[in-house]
Symmetry: C2
Subunit: 455 residues, 2 copies
């Protein structure tokens, strides 16, 4: 009985000892990141010297070699590339006008949906049909839609505290709804930008054509332009629009995921993988989406390496290629993991911007979630309190679906994200040094704990 | 026994019913604020049409009448002014140069400490003495300090996750340390700005002269200028500085707190008071400090009034005058409360900027704190999770000290605040619409719960 008590006391005091040690390690890591903020300087380079970098572009190629070099300089154990073929969509030129009943033409700024087709060389000119939501379209007769340019006037809901809750319903009008309009014979689609901002910047993003129906041109206008257009269409009937775009899909291009890792000291075969995506849209600088995730992931490796902290399990950062318009990098990573028979115990994505983090979303078993939650006391000092949301990330989705790998995504404050997302607003100046660093701290802490204690 | 059980079940189901009702009311309030964002438009007016508004200035006077008018338009029960005499410090002109050993003079941007005296009309020119922290100064011989310009080179600590933890130690070098230098015979003081930003903006803020020692001129330089100066002084000895400032304290001026309230339906004699301060520093626009708190406080009243929600206890918004350099408004409010024998059950300040809120700091009894924490499930949907920090606010401090009133302060994300605080960076453009509104939501929720359930 006394023996049992002694063993119990030993276990409890060993746990307390571990807790203090981890706590001190995490504080050291956080201090390193906040005082050196190399991830912030990396982001400046990526945004200002390379710039936006859509898959297949020369800048995406540059970003690969930059990513490899920066990773190598962290002092991690090894850096390598994973070859992957990616789509190569180019925007070309864009031009549009709103034409009132009297024939007066007023130019309006547009942004093609990514992967969309262009118009014919004459452009398309047709009467606008304002549709506030998909149900309204579905109630109409195809004859009333045929030949028109459908204006999806669906608004980003402002009442949600988490803006990602508004993004979900809204993004359908960019991603899926255009094919619904095509099914009913629409000539083209123009959407209200999927954005929380009331400004004059159109926001791009992928379209997914339903192959059963014709592919039609699809463009976005800014929220302010959409407000104007809505007002105009409420006053006068027969407003027309002219759209001319030359975007097109070119032949696929060879590209790469960039991978860096530190081998685990005790369980090298168990991998904690984490990353962001190296490609971005072709407007703005891809600063929040997802330059932030890229430099944070590199920062995790750097922090372990520079402080000489050896993880028990292998930790691996991946800069995925082609998240935005193909997910080829994420799929490739998963295929290679299957080929090599790798064992991933956790995958963490950071692709929700560089703002102050407050939590991680997770998709995993209840027992795994419970285990992660037991780490909360170590995360709270860094502002991480919320482990309640479900989620993961696009690039690690294939791992989860194929192997059931537990997945997570870093949750930064969401208030500003969709103001900038996929638009000319997504530039380095709109990322805050300390906020970006705190995201790197949160990632580092989670990677550290998972690499120490497994899942 | 069965009777007791029935009573218990009735109590529990009544509580669940209340919870649902409050929850729905709070969501309605939040939706109102996020979709109408009148506080954001109010802030634009305050910043752009009135601008900065130091106590005693014409703009501070304008802000009083503006505040009164905007409050009246909310539809609250009554609006009134509280007369208060305030100091009237004016900055005048500022000029400074760094002079190297060869006599080369390079201009440097400075900002006088608020309430500081100016230099003589010839300015002051003297050798600089770099002091990294107060202990270093205190170890010196007065003879080595005498006649010099002391350069307090104390850095804002970047490793703290909450920047307010860094502000505390750092602000001493603006507030108290200059008199320590004066005690040892310094001719003037220049400090590294109390700021997290690495930029070229000097930050102002109050100085408190210790009356036992001479008052000496005291100015701030930006963090980048301080970095330069530090490097220069490490390389060459005998760097000198020239400072000429004409700031001075003019005779006191009559001004006002602006007060608006809604009478409680059941306990009108129990008051929940909340507010921010109407005055600001005389550079920038006082957007975060404390335009945000002003418009959020007005928004609380507006939301109750416009939605027709009658609080059980009286709720009262106060736009305090002279927080920055005298606290006369906060003191006056307390004096009048004593005179009128008012009973305040809670005082809440919002004076930490307009960023996304995550909690409230509190100073109150353990039992009161426990009660507030029982409201957490109602606050979590709005991102409020942290009720752990101690705190209150400057303007409600007198109430707490005189009556023991429980006090709180809204805690917005602190990462950007000290980049802007008391500098030319504190402008409307640096406040985010949704973040500001969420602060108003958090204030409204806390005021609602306190007015329903007391403390």
């Amino acid at each position: 009985m006394l023996g049992l008590l002694i063993v119990l006391i030993q276990i409890i005091s060993a746990e307390a000892q571990n807790f203090r040690q981890d706590s001190s390690t995490l504080k050291k890591m956080s201090n390193y990141i906040l005082t050196n903020y190399e991830c912030y300087n990396d982001l400046r380079y990526l945004c200002k010297q390379i710039g936006h970098r859509i898959s297949g572009s020369a800048q995406a190629e540059k970003a690969v070699w930059w990513g490899k070099e920066v990773m190598e300089k962290t002092g991690c154990d090894r850096v390598y590339l994973q070859e992957v073929m990616v789509p190569h969509w180019v925007r070309g030129t864009e031009q549009a006008e709103i034409i009132n009943a009297k024939g007066k033409r007023v130019p309006v700024s547009i942004s093609s949906m990514g992967n969309a087709i262009g118009t014919s060389s004459n452009g398309v000119e047709a009467t606008l049909l304002k549709i506030n939501n998909i149900e309204q379209l579905q109630r109409m007769n195809a004859a009333d839609v045929k030949g028109k340019i459908v204006f999806f006037n669906y608004r980003f809901e402002q009442t949600n505290v988490n803006t990602f809750d508004s993004y979900g319903p809204c993004v359908y009008y960019r991603w899926g709804a255009p094919s619904e309009a095509a099914r009913m014979g629409a000539a083209a689609v123009v959407i209200r930008s999927v954005s929380s901002a009331y400004d004059d910047k159109p926001h791009t993003g992928s379209i997914a054509y339903n192959k059963k129906y014709p592919s039609i041109p699809a463009v976005a206008i800014s929220n302010l332009a959409a407000d104007e257009l809505e007002k105009q269409m409420n006053k006068e009937p027969h407003v027309k629009m002219y759209i001319k775009t030359t975007c097109e899909m070119l032949p696929e291009v060879k590209s790469y995921n960039v991978v860096g890792e530190i081998t685990g000291s005790e369980l090298p075969g168990e991998i904690v993988v984490f990353g962001g995506h190296l490609d971005s849209w072709d407007i703005g600088e891809g600063a929040h989406d997802d330059g932030a995730g890229v430099v944070q992931s590199i920062e995790v490796l750097r922090t372990f390496a520079k402080l000489g902290i050896r993880p028990k399990r292998t930790i691996r950062a991946v800069l995925f290629m082609n998240e935005e318009n193909g997910l080829r990098g994420g799929q490739k990573y998963c295929d290679l993991a299957a080929e090599k028979n790798e064992k991933h115990i956790l995958a963490i994505e950071t692709d929700a911007g560089g703002a102050t983090p407050y939590g991680f979303s997770m998709t995993m078993t209840a027992a795994q979630r419970q285990k992660v939650k037991s780490w909360l006391p170590q995360l709270l000092p860094f502002g991480i309190y919320n482990l309640e949301r479900n989620g993961g990330g696009a690039d690690i989705g294939p791992l989860h679906r194929k192997f059931g790998t537990p997945v997570m995504e870093l949750l930064p404050d969401s208030q500003r994200y969709f103001d900038m997302h996929h638009s000319a607003n997504d530039v380095f100046e709109n990322v805050h040094r300390r906020e970006l660093c705190l995201g790197a701290v949160a990632m580092t802490a989670m990677v550290y704990l998972a690499s120490m204690y497994g899942l």
